[in-house]
Amino acid sequence: MAIIQASNLVKTYKNPDESSKYFNAVDGISLSIHPGEIYGILGPNGAGKTTTLEMLEGLKDIDSGTAFINSINVKDNPYQVKQIIGVQLQANEYFDKMTLAELLNLFSALYSLSNDPLELLKKVNLADKANANANELSGGQKQRFSIACALVNNPLVLFLDEPTTGLDPQAKRSLWDLILDLNKMGMTIVLTTHNMEEAEILCQRIAIMDYGKIIAEDTPQNLILQYAPDKVREVLNGNMEDVFIALTGHGLRD
């Protein structure tokens, strides 16, 4: 039984250029994600990845369609859903003048829980920064800290929105290790990314989104077999980047 079950999700916005017209940022997406899976959503900028995540997380209204997380209807019980999920957002800014330990205590309190902030910081390798301010952290440390914040409620499902964007290779790899560790402990992880290598290494299944729709969904291996150009596939050198370009084209997005 799927832990996340979404069918025909739609999110409609006003067209920023012509306010009388509307467009579907998310256009009838259906997902079925299994417990313990790392599921990746790939797509160019503006494909609707973040909007899809935010609808599942109860942060944005679902205009039509349904979503269930652990059999809880997101539309009807967003607060119940929020109790069992952890979310790392693209923007990770926090209140000024608070230490990491204080911020973790705050986030725990918002779930009416109490945690040892040091334990959480150890998990993400930031124990020595317990008394630092969030704005003193490097990019990689910030991302790891925002995952620590997402873990305060020991969530069943962890949502990560472009967790490694802007990180150097070392920071990126240390974050991948963290994600794999969390997954080994049984956490279901849903992540969005632009990074093909990341999708290939981390994800058991991948959905490729473009213009608000899922245009392909399978294991990385099957996607490569199916979509990578013949020549590449034959020499068995194909990777997810070949699949991505083959499906979404070469044109630049914003």
Partner: protein, 362 residues
């Protein structure tokens, strides 16, 4: 009602504020400086610098000059017309009086020329009656006529009230408005812009939890700040409070609520930090002039007065002044409380209608 996430968030908001030492100091400096200036000068006006050119050698003119110098209303600077004209243009003196050569002891009308700078028109309206009055009394003294009327001014309130006593409730109301608006409108827009609100709403807290926490935290902070100002005025400047201090604090609590909800409305209307700044300026400055904080409402043009009385700051400042200076109690200012209640309602409606909590990322 007050659950543990709310309590924790309230504590955090207060904690963040207390760590911002620079803001605390700056928010207290201005009101303390204004009160100190007023309190230490005790509301007395400085003598007005006027220039005097005497072209006459008659007794009458020297008598006239003696009279003019005798009072403490004017500081008379004598000189020739050209140099005083220069002083007038430079703004060093307000007016120049020129006594003509033909001023003599005979009873006849003497034209005394008054050189003025028209840009000081406001000031002129004040000084003209004073001058005419001075001329009249000088004339009477010289001609030996007894005045037919003498105006005796009696204060029916019959208590010692200085300008600071008039100013204190108004300044407190004004400061309360600034602090509350800054603490709600600006905070919300800033938290939204930086994605902090969104991060909070990833957790199971509800918008109402956030609002309750920020309102209570701001209430505690503003009450603390006002108490410091109030204590300074009472104990250092020895201001008088006639009414009940408890009643005054009830006014303050409702005032903070009113401006916090109105601040949330401004924060909901504005999408960016820049536009909330402009909106707050549009909200604050007209009220500074129109609400009778520094000048009585009666000095405003008549057609504005009925509207001015309904402004949030007018309602609050008037209620606070009625209690602090006139010794009224809460029941006697119930009309103000009705007005404040209506503003709280308007603020709550606008902010809940316009603030799209689901789209907190903007």
């Amino acid at each position: 009602m007050f659950n543990s996430p709310q309590k924790y968030l309230t504590k955090v908001f207060i904690q963040i504020f207390l760590r911002n030492k620079q803001y605390i100091i700056f928010s207290l400096i201005l009101p303390i400086v204004i009160l100190s200036i007023v309190g230490l000068s005790n509301g007395e006006t400085d003598p007005i610098d006027i220039g005097l050119v005497n072209n006459s050698e008659s007794n009458l003119s020297s008598q006239f000059i003696d009279q003019l110098t005798a009072g403490n209303l004017f500081n008379v600077i004598r000189g020739d017309e050209d140099s005083l004209r220069g002083d007038l243009i430079n703004g060093d003196i307000m007016i120049v009086l020129i006594i003509p050569e033909e001023m003599s002891d005979q009873i006849q009308t003497t034209n005394i020329t008054l050189l003025v700078d028209k840009s000081q028109i406001q000031f002129l309206q004040t000084i003209e009656p004073i001058l005419s009055q001075s001329f009249l009394s000088i004339e009477r003294e010289i001609t030996g006529n007894d005045p037919m009327f003498n105006l005796v001014i009696e204060d029916v309130k019959s208590r010692t009230q200085s300008y600071i006593d008039f100013l204190l409730p108004g300044i407190m109301a004004f400061m309360l408005m600034n602090l509350s608006i800054a603490g709600s409108g600006f905070n919300v827009v800033e938290f939204r812009r930086r994605g902090i609100l969104k991060r909070l709403f990833v957790t199971p807290i509800k918008p109402i939890d956030f609002v309750i926490a920020i309102v209570i935290a701001r209430m505690v902070i503003v009450l603390g700040q006002l108490s410091i100002i109030f204590g300074f005025a009472l104990f250092v400047l020895e201001a008088n409070i006639i009414g009940s201090i408890f009643d005054l604090y009830i006014c303050i609590i409702f005032g903070v609520l009113m401006f916090l909800t109105l601040g949330f409305s401004l924060g909901s209307l504005a999408k960016t930090q820049e536009s909330v700044g402009v909106l707050a300026t549009l909200f604050i400055y007209p009220q500074l002039i129109l609400s009778g904080v520094f000048f009585p409402l009666e000095t405003l043009p008549e057609f504005i007065q009925p509207f001015a009385q309904l402004l949030p700051l007018s309602l609050l400042a008037d209620a606070m002044r009625s209690i602090a200076s006139d010794g009224l109690n809460l029941i006697e200012v119930y009309m103000n409380f009705i007005g404040i209640g209506v503003w709280i309602l308007i603020g709550t409606l606008i902010s809940t209608k316009l603030f799209v909590w689901k789209e907190v990322a903007g």
